[in-house]
């Protein structure tokens, strides 16, 4: 994708698939997804619940083993690493979870959780762990008086800061942020988003930012992938997605977001029906049943096409519908 040199790419996935076996068949959680992320950039991944965005995030850092396809991290295929190499890879990637309540160990203090990550990676000497833990506390904006606090003694925003500190402790290059602000109030959400953006600049981090909140993703991402039932249906630079969405689903998704500007209330394109099942899907466009523009061609398998520079869409009618 694109004309950027190889050296700018941190992670590239090609035809990535993650299927789960369920009693009624095979659940295609991630189905033939390809994209790449440049260093120090943020790739937003959006879609409705059940579209496979969290599974994609977890598969990217090999928390879940992929079913098929490849994940190139700095040019090396993660899916082919041996145990030792995989361990090294895992010291370079990290994840921040949505729910700061259940993703922290209730029986460890904030300090212990961050120190544990330092010990595991052997990133610093034993006698430096205390100092390094305090430095991370400062980085994520946690007052040192919370060093000995247990998760239940902290509010949601501070808990999420501990989660971010723990992710940073291993000094990663790449962090998957899985709905990191969805459980937080708006005033706290702004604090955490600003923190993540500051850290990206300071440390030179690369993010995958998974969310269902289109305003948040517009604010934080450089590029966006839109997913629908396991498939990547549109990807392009963030601004372009909001000005020139090409896929009918993306258009409907954007129009469904209620605007805070009461002077220009937009006409909503109400989407019919709900997400269908990703279990044993038929070939063809998965948005078929809900789409206002579906035709017979849509029942054939779809593939991503570059319709505008850096703007990929998987819809056989996109060119015609957008008069490109």
């Amino acid at each position: 994708m694109g004309g950027m040199g190889m050296s700018d790419t941190l992670i590239e996935v090609k035809h990535l698939k993650k299927y789960f076996d369920v009693p009624s068949g095979q659940l295609h959680a991630v189905d033939d997804v390809s994209f790449k992320i440049e260093k120090k950039k943020t790739m937003g991944i959006v879609g409705e619940s059940g579209c496979g965005k969290s599974t994609l995030g977890r598969t990217l850092i090999h928390l879940l083993e992929s079913t098929d396809g490849s994940i190139f991290f700095e040019g090396r295929d993660v899916t082919r690493l041996n145990a030792k190499e995989l361990n090294e890879f895992r010291h370079q990637v990290s994840i921040i979870f949505q729910d700061p309540y259940s993703s922290l160990n209730p029986r460890m203090t904030a300090e212990q959780m961050i120190a544990e990550a330092l010990k595991i990676t052997k990133r610093c000497k034993k006698d430096q762990i205390e100092e390094e833990t305090r430095r991370i506390f400062d980085m994520v904006g946690l007052d040192r008086r919370f060093l000995k606090s247990y998760p239940h003694e902290l509010d949601g925003g501070r808990r999420q800061r501990v989660g971010i500190g723990r992710a940073l402790a291993i000094n990663p290059k790449f962090i998957v942020c899985d709905e990191p602000v969805s459980a937080l109030d708006v005033s706290i959400q702004a604090q955490i988003l600003n923190l993540l953006m500051d850290l990206q600049e300071q440390v030179g981090l690369t993010y995958v930012f998974i969310t269902h909140n289109m305003s948040v993703v517009r604010h934080i991402s450089d590029n966006i992938c839109v997913m629908y039932l396991g498939q990547l249906i549109e990807t392009c630079p963030t601004k372009e997605l909001f000005t020139t969405p090409l896929h009918p689903y993306t258009k409907a998704l954007l129009s469904a977001i209620p605007s805070t500007d009461i002077t220009k209330q937009k006409e909503q394109v109400l989407m019919k029906g709900e997400l269908t099942s990703p279990i044993n899907p038929v070939p063809g466009c998965r948005f078929y049943a809900r789409c206002d523009h579906s035709c017979e061609k849509c029942l054939e398998p779809q593939s991503l096409q570059e319709l505008l520079p850096e703007h990929f869409v998987s819809c056989c009618r996109a060119r015609e519908l957008n008069q490109l």
């Binding site: 925003g157 005033s187 959400q189 604090q191 517009r218 954007l254 209620p258 605007s259 989407m271």
Partner: protein
């Protein structure tokens, strides 16, 4: 609108909870009113007291822990706080209904959804089982669920459909007031758009008064007539949707708007509201927002100021709004 026509009037309501010997001041002197067919949005963050206000109106505060310290709630002229439990049983479901946030836990998992709606109808209306069943199926149809799903169990529905079932149940007895507590927060945006559209249509069809509790300013812009901004159990700003969205006066309201990224404008950095909402067990002495307010003076931390009129019905509890704003009302 004359005093007598006001359908629901809440005056100076204060509610406190007792927990571990601490007194938690959840709602502290809240007043508002709402007419038939209108929508009031209560906007604020977690713990601001929005849900407690709704539960007070419905009379479902937990008996032991909660105490209504003062205030009156008039529905059509009757003070609900003086009503007996028997009277309230007749009012709940028939005159006032509530939709809760989480559609996953609000339904009985071992009862068919149709029967759950029919049960509600049978409690309030003297109708035969057969009639109740027919009415329940009509309600399902009204919220966009095919009648043939009557015999399905909740686990056979998606989140959006469960929320529709809950709304069908809440509306089964044609309530005159609907309290909707974050009705779409657990739903995806495309489903949220469907549910909000449906609530709007039903409100207009039944001329129902609607109190919507939410923190989503986009949803409020879409559906509300009036907006009350709630902070630490107080209404800090109140007015029509236009007042609040086009001429916000209270520093908290302004900060709230600046803290959310939106789809229309680009900002490099979101404005933080520094610090955290106050602990309702230890509220600050003066203005509740003063510890986080960039405009706070020493006087703000010492004494509270009451809601004062900005223009018409638009009022704001900040003593400095004129100074901060350059003295203009809606100019």
């Amino acid at each position: 609108m004359s005093e007598n026509n006001i359908f629901l009037k809440v005056r100076d309501l204060a509610v406190e909870y007792t927990s571990d010997g601490k007194v938690i001041h959840a709602v502290n002197g809240v007043s508002f009113s709402i007419d038939r067919g209108k929508t009031l949005a209560l906007v604020g963050e977690t713990g601001a007291g929005k849900t407690t206000i709704a539960k007070s109106i419905l009379g479902i505060l937990p008996d032991r822990a909660a105490r209504i310290r003062k205030g009156q709630i008039y529905l059509d002229g009757t003070d609900l706080l003086k009503a007996s439990e028997n009277e309230m049983l007749k009012i709940r479901g028939r005159k006032i209904s509530m939709v809760f946030q989480d559609p996953m836990t609000a339904l009985n998992p071992i009862m068919k959804v149709g029967s759950q709606i029919a049960e509600t109808i049978r409690i309030h209306d003297a109708v035969s089982k057969k009639e109740a069943k027919k009415k329940a199926a009509d309600m399902l149809n009204l919220v966009g669920i095919p009648r043939n799903r009557y015999n399905n169990y909740p686990h056979e529905f998606s989140g959006g459909m469960k929320q529709r079932v809950i709304i069908a149940m809440a509306l089964a007895c044609r309530p005159e007031l609907l309290l909707a507590d974050e009705p779409t927060t657990a739903l995806d945006v495309t489903i949220q758009a469907q549910v909000i559209k449906m609530i709007k249509d039903l409100r207009d069809q039944f001329n129902m008064a609607l109190i919507l509790i939410t923190h989503d300013l986009g949803v409020v812009a879409d559906i509300a007539d009036d907006v009350a901004v709630v902070y630490a159990g107080e209404i800090v700003e109140y007015g029509s949707k236009e007042d609040i969205y086009l001429h916000p006066k209270h520093p908290y309201t302004k900060a709230l708007f600046n803290a959310i990224p939106n789809l229309e404008t680009d900002v490099d950095r979101l404005e933080n509201i520094k610090g955290l909402p106050p602990d309702p067990a230890q509220l600050p002495e003066g203005c509740c927002f003063s510890p986080r307010c960039t405009y706070a003076l020493e006087a703000c931390t010492r004494a509270k100021s009451a809601l004062a009129t900005v223009e018409n019905r638009h009022c704001c509890s900040c003593s400095r709004w004129k100074e901060i704003d350059g003295g203009n009302g809606h100019e």
